[in-house]
């Protein structure tokens, strides 16, 4: 680790100021990704601005539109315990281990946008809105590829708003070492259609599987997936743990399982 300063503001406005008056500041969420990166000397921020003490960024509530609003510094454990959006709570409950869930935050996960992370699938699959200190970004515009998002330098995710679907489920097939998603599929059925978001599989990160969305919007059953072709393996990740062809196959299988388990 290189030396850095750590600031612990208690208001978003102070955090924004602390971010902007340093040439090289970085938000610190639960540190589950950032701290190991620092330990390996792969990053050298001059200042870390901790989100943990900002009360307005911690907690879960519903807005007037019935959306579930989760503060950007809310832990995975808190989301897992909430239960008002079962598909989302179920996803949060299976991220990492208890230590990771008690520290890691939704804002950190979405800002990091690891191609195998779970939350990006929920945000995209729900059509969530990412709220920052500057603006609101629709999930469809937010994810830009592996570790790449629409966030600008110094922008802080303060809140994430999830429309709550009629039924939903996240089917996660774990990579045996990291236990991140080798392939994870989030399926959400809304009154006006179905969204299917896939994580873990693609070299361009989380994405929607439109063929499945169309089929499921017509008829929401595992059978609708059974009769689909698996997506193309082009552009899917091939690594030690699975080929692109295998991942393509898993996308189909996991989508079917998510539909079957959706509640």
């Amino acid at each position: 680790m290189y030396d850095f300063d750590i600031e612990r503001p208690s208001r978003i406005a102070d955090a924004v100021k602390l971010m902007s008056d340093s040439t090289d500041a970085q938000p610190l969420g639960g540190g589950q990704t950032l701290i190991p990166t620092l330990k390996q000397r792969l990053a050298s921020p001059e200042r870390l601005v901790s989100m943990a003490g900002i009360d307005e960024m911690v907690g879960i509530c519903k807005d007037d539109a019935g959306r579930l609003c989760i503060g950007g510094a809310t832990t995975h454990a808190a989301v897992a315990a909430d239960g008002s959006y079962p598909g989302l709570s179920g996803l949060a409950a299976r991220i990492g281990d208890p230590a990771v869930r008690n520290r890691g935050t939704i804002g950190g996960s979405l800002a990091n946008n690891d191609p195998a992370a779970c939350y990006p699938a929920a945000a995209l699959g729900s059509g969530a809105t990412i709220v920052t200190n500057k603006r609101e970004i629709a999930a469809d515009d937010y994810f830009r590829g592996m570790f790449d998002t629409a966030l600008e330098e110094g922008e802080i995710i303060t809140e994430v708003k999830f429309p709550i679907p009629e039924v939903s489920h996240y089917a996660k097939f774990v990579q045996p070492a990291s236990r991140f998603a080798l392939v994870g599929v989030f399926v959400a059925k809304f009154a006006d259609g179905v969204r299917v978001a896939v994580t873990g599989a693609s070299e361009s990160g989380v994405h929607r599987w439109s063929a499945a969305e169309e089929a499921l919007s017509r008829s929401f059953s595992a059978g609708s997936i059974g009769s689909l072709e698996a997506p193309s393996a082009d552009g899917l990740i091939t690594d030690l743990h699975g080929t692109g062809a295998y991942r393509a196959h898993l996308v189909k299988v996991m989508t079917g399982r998510a539909v079957a388990a959706a509640s």
């Binding site: 045996p176 070492a177 295998y246």
Partner: protein, 787 residues
Amino acid sequence: MPKDGGIGASSKRREDLRFLTGKGKYTDDINLRDQTYAYFIRSDVAHGTINSIDISAAMKMPGVERVFTASDFEGVGGVPCGWQVTDRHGQPMQEPKHPVLAEGKVRHVGDPIAVVVADSLAEARDAAEQVEIDITELPAVLNMKDALNDGATKVHDDLTSNLCYDWGFVEENRDAVDAAIKGAHHVTTLELKNNRLVANPMEPRVAVADFDSSTDEYTLYTTSQNPHVIRLLMGAFVLGIPEHKLRVVAPDVGGGFGAKIYHYAEEAFCTFAAKQIGRPVKWTSSRSEAFMSDAHGRDHVTKIELALDKDGKFLALRTDTHANMGAYLSTFAPSIPTWLHGTLMAGNYTTPLIYVNVKAVFTNTVPVDAYRGAGRPEATFQLERVVDKAAREMGIDPVELRRKNFITEFPYATPVAVEYDTGDYHATMDKLLELSDHAGFEARAATSKANGKLRGFGIAHYIEACGIAPSNLVGQLGARAGLYESATVRVNATGSISVMTGSHSHGQGHETSFAQVVAEMIGIDESQIDIVHGDTAKTPMGMGTYGSRSIAVGGSAMVRATEKIINKARKIAAHLMEASEADIELKDGQFTVAGTDKSVAWGDVTLAAYVPHNYPLEDIEPGLEETAFYDPANFTYPSGAYGCEVEVDPETGKVTVLGFTAADDFGNIINPMIVEGQVHGGLAQGIGQAMIENCAYDDDGQLLSGSYMDYAMPRADDLPMFTVDHSSVTPCTHNPLGVKGCGEAGAIGSPPALVNAVVDALQRAGHDVTHIDMPLSPDRVWAAMNS
């Protein structure tokens, strides 16, 4: 009735109190006054020529004491290899120099190039970033077969090729084996890989070295399974330090699994540097460094052929293995694919003709050496896989085919140079079938099928050679060390006992089980006995712990020393009771004169030994302390039948291990609970190898699985409930305890059982799959089903 102490009791592991409450004293807990920290700069390329190293900027960085490179090690020896293998043509193996720091060339990712020693680790790391190293990358040698082609890039320019040795065993049998295979009714052939593993003990390696200029004495604290071996290798071969000036301490060690047997460059570096700079030097491996500097395990590529007659009798066996040595020869590396592998190829069977060929190959990878089981898992895996395949090909039940060929008469001399003293393989097989409810399998398979899952059952029967080993024999086989063990039993005046053993405990529970043996022999409470190990200044010269040798060899030395103690104590007791020594009996800590009610307690005798007022001074010396060295007459041969039940998800290829049964014959058992724990640990590692563990390099020699993000270690939920049994007992005939050793069995017997089970599941479902290489990851199983 379970005993509550002594041999056969499940005494609680006394060491666990300190381990589980954070009070263990590990090497990293040792901090010496004024100590410095070493940071190793390691190669990030697999193969390259070092053009220049510029340390000038780094030397000026804050806190830097000194920066070392290979030029500081002129006149210092290389890290030695402890075993010389002789090839098929009678020539010694090719043995490259293994410098402490890379000389002119780097040969694997992780090869140390330079070391910064500074006041703090952070300062050492800062300065390390200022060391400028210019390397011209060379093509990496990775594939073992390609490495042996004419004109292949050489890992070591001064060797004639990348071939370390071409070993044939038994060379005289070669033609007869070829002929038998040629003429056989049926030949089953199988090509397979034994996947490369990283041992991953929970505690990474650490070295802390100190030099006292007033006495010329060095002390090295290190995470070792065998401190005396380190003292010998490092003192005599690398640094030229006489043994009486070098103390090596291996305090609490958090797991070894083989990877902490070897003498490593970092130990020599710290010891050397401590004198150079006149301050203690400490190095603690990070987990990332461990992946690229701890010796790896396994990594064999094998073709095996089994010839059978029409009734399924084994006629001949031929195997051809390429064994990866990595870039340099680690301490025992050459012996693993040869003497610890070829000699086991008979397994439990009466196969009359066997020929084993092993080509050991240098590659641009981390050195490979023993890992839990060491050679024996590689032998067992190929043998038990080919036997299973043969059974399927010939339409014979795999259990029956094994039974048909079991050795039943002992002692049995195999055609591969070893003699099994005892065993009862039908008994362990019976036990396995009973405990795993083999008879109920079909019903369970039907239930799985109804749930859309494919169920399979696989077995393996293993033999291992443990209690390593007779010194005169291993000497003939090329070992550059003896393999006896030692113990000093020091009885204190009040009767309590300190046992100094050359065995080292790094999780095995010796402090408990060794004490049980001495307690049993004398008849006193275990709490009166302490086991001291891991310090060359405290214990007699010992060879340490590996090869499931501690109770068989170290325990036997302790028995011999305790016998000497008892003999002397009887003389003292006879004197005290004015009786004849021949009439003295020892029971429950009381010496009695046979046929009388005269008795004297253990404590009275020990007190007399140290306060010899009424004492036979003319016949015996005062005091009660004895040392014994024990060199076994043979290896020990534990064996067992392992069975595994799996379910395969046909949609994803994911394998779930539903149950695992281990029916072992370990000879006599000292502490059943500790034995069970050892088997559990071995099974976890064997199942880990078969299911998820895989050390992989890419085509450039970069380590793909260099962290826990990609190297999967088994966790509790990867493992089934284990059924472990060791009630089949055929005691070892040649050691005083009749024990065989249990540390490695689990890791040896489980991988073939698991792969056999998965192949069984797939074949039952109609898939034409005869083999899948480990680990049986879902994508591999799915690909096999869909190819």
